[in-house]
Amino acid sequence: MENTQENTAHLARLARLSLTDEELALYTTQIADILTYVSKLQEVETAEPSKWTDSLGTPVSRRVDEQDSCSSEVRRNLIDAFPSKEGDLLSVQAVFTNRV
């Protein structure tokens, strides 16, 4: 299967991954080879896949979407893991503006 560095760069952008030039070249070839290999699956005759089943083929169980909480200790541990924070608030760059 054909692949180009432009395609690989596009995939990387979609996947939010920065790549070096060396990685871009390497992954372009490797991804092409892997996709060629897995494309063999298209020759296999199959029925429509089942939807909403788990690995065992049983219907996926769902539970009520209700709020759960954690202990204050777990909460503290999570906040302590923030790379950047103000008080107990997670600090992040704005979604739509560039960093000043």
Binding site: T8, L11, A12, R13, L14, A15, R16, L17, S18, L19, E23, L26, Y27, Q30, I31, D33, I34, L35, Y37, V38, S39, K40, L41, Q42, V44, T46, A47, E48, P49, S50, D54, S55, L56, G57, S61, R62, R63, C70, V74, N77, L78, D80, A81, F82, P83, S84, L90, V92, Q93, A94, V95, N98, R99
Partner: protein, 485 residues
């Protein structure tokens, strides 16, 4: 006192119960041995000596007070470092989580602690459990105790090496496409991947959520069954975990007369090392001599297992790994914009195999490719499940090799596809959700070989029955790597 090393968990438990040694003595012996040997093997990323000794003392106190204790009380166990233990680092052997500390413990960890098992440390793995050699770890590869120039297998290579080297008699790993069974085979151990849903995945870092299962390493089937009794069972924190009924437990039986064992023709075709094949065939004959009936069966879609797996796994992984954004935890690198920060954090934090699989998954799930790749893979998976269902109408258990070869030299394989082919026999059980277990059955080129048993969903008891029958009549599991490293 005789050495407490190179013993099974059951043997150590009996010694402690008979007051021939204390839990502290058991812990001290294994911790000291681990400290001495880990430099050569790099099986453990961290040894938790102080915590282990405190836990061992607590077990001794309870035993002195006459409390009834679990068979695992005082038994050392190593934990794959993609399982969260509150307060411990949890790195997944990745730069992305190099300094990350777990905020809570996995359900299996809580259950182990309640049983009195002694957690001795974090075991090395392929980064984020992606790999079959334990070479992609950010913290360096693990070496096989049987031959330190060779891989231990992966991704749970550290967990396997730790048990093979007697750092602990048992360990936990995770198995998404063979990551417990393959290293078990390569290190001469019993390795079990339970039925999907048998063991709670709460606190296991997700790789592919429809395939992942926590699995076990030990020298014996008995130790496997005892360890599983502690960790298995429904958990409200994991909606995919299942309530187990009474029929799914093993009563210790090992009479396999009349049991039908299926040998899929797809598992005995090209691709297996001839020396390994000889050992596997001998093992099948041994089971036949014990009264089992060997039956030829077919799993027609098993020949497409690798293609199916390497579409589904990257797709699920690419979705699961979106959480590693460098904002709330993990490696953070700042960019000019939020998107650039994501890209730099992830680009720097992830190793090459992880990045490769994320991009493959991104491709498979993109419009234009979704139906042809991901949709197709789901359909083949359904067909594979149906293959197993039909085969199990004719037989009780399926038998085959675990790995097409013995452990190879470190660095010998670098091409991704040749590495993916190592999983050819283990992947089908993950895709279909069935339980599967590797059992040591001999040597080829002086390296361990294991056979694999696959059962119907929730029939781990039959796997134990067959495995125990085999171990009652053979001594392969009594071999160990002492003196080899």
């Amino acid at each position: 006192m005789k050495s407490l090393l190179w013993k099974t968990a059951s043997e150590l438990s009996a010694l402690m119960q008979n007051k021939e040694c204390s839990a502290r003595e058991v812990a001290e012996a294994h911790l000291e041995h681990a400290k001495q040997t880990n430099q050569k093997l790099n099986a453990l990323l961290e040894i938790k000596e102080e915590e282990a000794l405190i836990a061992a003392d607590a077990v001794d106190e309870k035993r002195s007070a006459g409390e009834e204790l679990s068979p695992l009380a005082g038994v050392p166990i190593a934990i794959k470092d993609n399982l969260l233990v509150e307060g411990w680092k949890a790195t997944a052997a990745s730069k992305m989580l190099e300094s990350h500390v777990a905020s809570y413990s996995a359900t299996v960890i809580e259950r182990l602690r309640n049983s009195g098992a002694i957690l001795i440390g974090r075991a090395n793995l392929d980064e984020f459990a992606m790999g079959s050699t334990c070479e992609t770890s950010h913290f360096g590869p693990t070496m096989n105790p049987w031959d330190t120039s060779r891989i231990p297998g992966g991704s749970s290579g550290g967990s396997a090496a730790a048990v093979a080297a007697s750092m602990a008699p048992i360990s936990l790993g995770s198995d998404t496409g063979g990551s417990v069974r393959q290293p078990a085979s390569l290190c001469g151990l019993v390795g079990l991947k339970p039925t999907y849903g048998r063991v709670s995945r709460y606190g296991l870092m997700s790789l592919a959520s429809s395939l992942d299962q926590i699995g076990t390493f030990s020298k014996t089937v008995l130790d496997t069954a005892n360890l599983m009794k502690v960790i298995e069972g429904a958990d409200p924190k994991d909606a995919t975990s299942c309530v187990l009924d009474n029929t799914s437990f093993w009563n210790g039986e090992s009479d396999i007369k009349g049991l039908r064992i299926g040998l899929p023709k797809e598992f005995f075709g090209e691709g297996m090392d001839p020396e390994v094949q000889k050992v596997i065939v001998e093992a099948a004959k041994k089971l036949e001599s014990l009264g089992a009936i060997l039956v030829d069966v077919s799993l027609p879609n098993a020949v497409s297992a690798i293609e199916t797996y390497y579409i589904i796994l990257p797709a699920e992984a690419s979705s699961n790994f979106a959480r590693y954004d460098g904002l709330r935890y993990g490696h953070h690198a700042s960019g000019e914009s939020l998107v650039e920060s994501y890209e730099k954090s992830r680009g720097e934090g992830f190793g090459s195999e992880v990045k490769r699989r994320i991009m493959l998954g991104t491709f498979s799930l993109s419009s234009g490719a979704y139906d042809a790749f991901y949709g197709k893979a789901l359909a083949v998976r359904d067909a594979m499940r149906e293959d197993f269902r039909k085969a199990f109408e004719q037989v009780d258990v399926i038998f085959g090799p675990t790995s097409p070869s013995v452990a190879w030299k470190l660095g010998a394989k670098s091409d991704p596809i040749s590495l993916y082919l190592a999983d050819i026999y283990t992947i089908p059980a993950n895709l279909a959700g069935n339980p599967a277990m590797s059992v040591p059955c001999g040597f080829a080129s002086e390296m361990p070989v294991g056979f694999q048993l696959i059962g119907r969903p929730f029939e781990e008891s039959l796997l134990y029955k067959v495995g125990q029958a085999y171990q009652n009549d053979t001594t392969w599991h009594e071999n160990n790597a002492e003196g080899r490293f």
